[in-house]
């Protein structure tokens, strides 16, 4: 057992479950590729998702986060500056999440087919999203103003 662990790096259950899991994964990928008319599109979306998220999307939003943080705090870590930063971050994250999930409707990626299929236009989503952003940012700003006095009092 000790020998197995030192050769393999973990216990036998890990190996068995790992191999079975990979086998099921490969089988399912094989089935999917066999069934779909243009298998390369499936591969593009499957691998592309990882590349796009890990190497494009995440670095970009991290970089934006770093830049905004530097701009708002100016490198200072006073309670006031950090509170201001977070009162921007939270509504920004939630607005961005709504856009990320609903962008096909908000940006009208398929206006023709949406209207043809459902019988009504999808031209109101951009307005609704902007209204949601406005409410989130305004609510956060009001909360910040309400906290301002106690933040100032305890500011170092």
């Amino acid at each position: 057992m000790k020998r197995f662990r030192s050769e393999y790096g973990d216990n036998p259950v890990h190996l068995v479950v790992g191999v079975v899991s990979l086998a099921v994964g490969v089988w399912a990928l094989y089935k999917a590729l066999g069934l779909l008319g243009i298998p390369i599109n499936f591969v593009k979306w499957f691998a592309g998702g990882v590349v796009l998220h890990d190497l494009v999307f995440l670095p970009i939003y991290s970089a934006i986060g770093v830049l905004v943080a530097a701009a708002v705090t100016g490198g200072s870590h006073s309670r006031l500056r950090i509170a201001a930063l977070n009162h921007l971050r939270v509504p920004a994250l939630l607005s961005a999440l709504a856009l990320l999930v609903w962008f096909p409707l908000i940006l009208r990626k398929a206006p023709g087919s949406f209207e043809r299929l459902t019988g009504h236009a999808n031209d109101f989503y951009l307005g609704r999203w902007l209204a949601l952003c406005a409410v989130l940012f305004a609510g956060s700003a009001i909360a910040f103003l309400l906290r301002l006095r106690s933040l100032r009092r305890s500011a170092p």
Binding site: E7, F46, L97, V101, W102, L117
Partner: protein, 432 residues
């Protein structure tokens, strides 16, 4: 054989993200990853189970219902007719849990991103197996969420058929997730034991410290953390708020009345106008390409039994038969639903007229010229249920063209799209 644990080092640069000190967030670490996983797991389980149930609800084993060759039959039962809202609830849950999981998944991927770049890239054979599986886990999860979220918004930019792709990607994902849980559960339990399950949520910003590593384990705990600018509870509260917001938008599509307004950005929110036919349309009459003349005065419903044609009925003939009214729900695979009052002729009565047993399996065929979903086969319970109707009216008025005039199928708990519209033929028994 001592080398087995020390495979040749890959020629990766020792700079930028490959250097552990590149990752500065004090919030990252095994507790955060474990907490997000614990929040994610129940949502994923419900989403996976309801997804498989949806596959079963389509009864792919019956008639021409199969949308693709499954390779494996994972349905062990006939889809029931009670409760009538069953499919609306299971599929509503599928979409709601899927939406709610999105921000938690994104946060989880953010929390563990340093491990993509960890060095050495390969520590042992076990580590190779884990990394291969993680590629399938991350790829599978992003694929499932992306295709699902786009599909419910009726945007299909992927260039492959959604149903088999989403179905098989789910198997890739579920297999990889099972292994991930087996290989990580000990780490999560240790993180919760050492840090407490909820204790780190008590700390405000002043008391937020960089997460310590778990001794002897390779974790995402930072080696050189920046000073914190956000507490863990603020981060997780924001993720939770995003998750709850998306869940409410999804729920708004399932709920009726004023709650429909909750579906602020969801595709099937507040209904289109007023009137007996003013409720959500899956596919309009215009979109399916049926010639207008086919649904005019000359329309006849053909009913046959075991391949032998028995009768051709006009709409007036059908209206002259005993009418049944039932409140039934259309539950769409896209996660929206709507309950209306339908009036029409029971399928069982039409079976008797065709010379078939009431409760004989029946293939319901639409006038739609194309598409695999232009026909649906009902199982015995569905065909025999007294509330399974060939509906002629809704809420007391004639069906509109968009809702299937001259006649449409409406069956309790049946997946929405199987409630075939613009019905042209009912073929009872085994068609010749």
């Amino acid at each position: 054989m001592a080398d087995a644990r020390r495979p040749p080092t890959l020629p990766l640069p020792d700079a930028g993200p490959f250097r552990a000190s590149f990752w500065r967030s004090p919030l990252r670490g095994p507790w955060l990853a474990s907490f997000l996983s614990a929040a994610l797991l129940p949502l994923i389980v419900v989403c996976a189970v309801t997804g498989l149930l949806s596959h079963a609800a389509y009864e792919p084993g019956l008639g021409n219902n199969a949308l693709f060759d499954e390779g494996v039959d994972l349905y062990f039962f006939s889809w029931p007719v009670r409760p009538a809202w069953l499919y609306a609830v299971t599929q509503g849950l599928h979409i709601v849990t899927g939406l709610a999981a999105v921000p938690i998944l994104l946060a989880k991927l953010w929390a563990v991103i340093p491990q993509l770049f960890e060095r050495p890239a390969v520590r042992s054979i076990a580590h190779v197996v884990e990394r291969l599986s993680l590629a399938l886990l991350v790829g599978g999860s992003l694929f499932l969420f992306a295709t699902g979220v786009l599909n419910i918004q009726l945007w299909y930019p992927f260039g492959f058929s959604f149903v088999p792709a989403h179905y098989y990607a789910a198997f890739v994902f579920m297999a990889a997730l099972t292994f991930h849980i087996v290989s990580k559960v000990a780490t999560a339990r240790r993180a919760f034991r050492e840090r407490g399950v909820l204790r780190p949520l008590r700390d405000d910003l002043e008391h937020t410290e960089p997460e310590p590593a778990l001794e002897g384990l390779h974790t995402t705990a930072p080696v050189s953390a920046a000073p914190p600018t956000m507490s863990r509870r603020l981060l997780l509260g924001t993720v939770g708020a995003g998750s709850a917001g998306l869940a409410l938008m999804g729920l708004g599509q399932v709920a009726g009345g004023p709650f429909r307004k909750l579906a602020l950005l969801a595709p099937r929110g507040d209904g289109p106008g007023d009137g007996p036919n003013a409720f959500q349309v899956n596919k309009t009459f215009k979109s399916v390409g049926i010639p207008k003349a086919d649904v005019g005065e000359g329309w006849r419903l053909l009913i046959s039994s075991d391949g032998g044609l028995r009768r051709a009925l006009s709409r007036a003939d059908l209206l002259a038969m005993d009418q049944v009214t039932a409140d039934l729900t259309i539950g769409c695979v896209e996660g929206w639903s709507t309950t209306q009052r339908w009036t029409g002729v029971p399928i069982a009565a039409l079976a008797r007229m065709a010379g078939a047993d009431p409760g004989a399996e029946v293939e319901v065929r639409s006038l739609q010229p194309a598409g695999v979903l232009r026909r649906a086969t009902l199982n015995a319970a569905q065909a025999g249920d007294p509330r399974s109707l060939l509906a002629l009216k809704v809420n007391g008025a004639d069906l509109s063209l968009d809702h299937g005039f001259p006649a449409r199928l409406i069956v309790p708990a049946l997946p929405g799209v199987h409630n075939t519209k613009w019905v042209g033929e009912l073929a009872f028994g085994s068609p010749a």
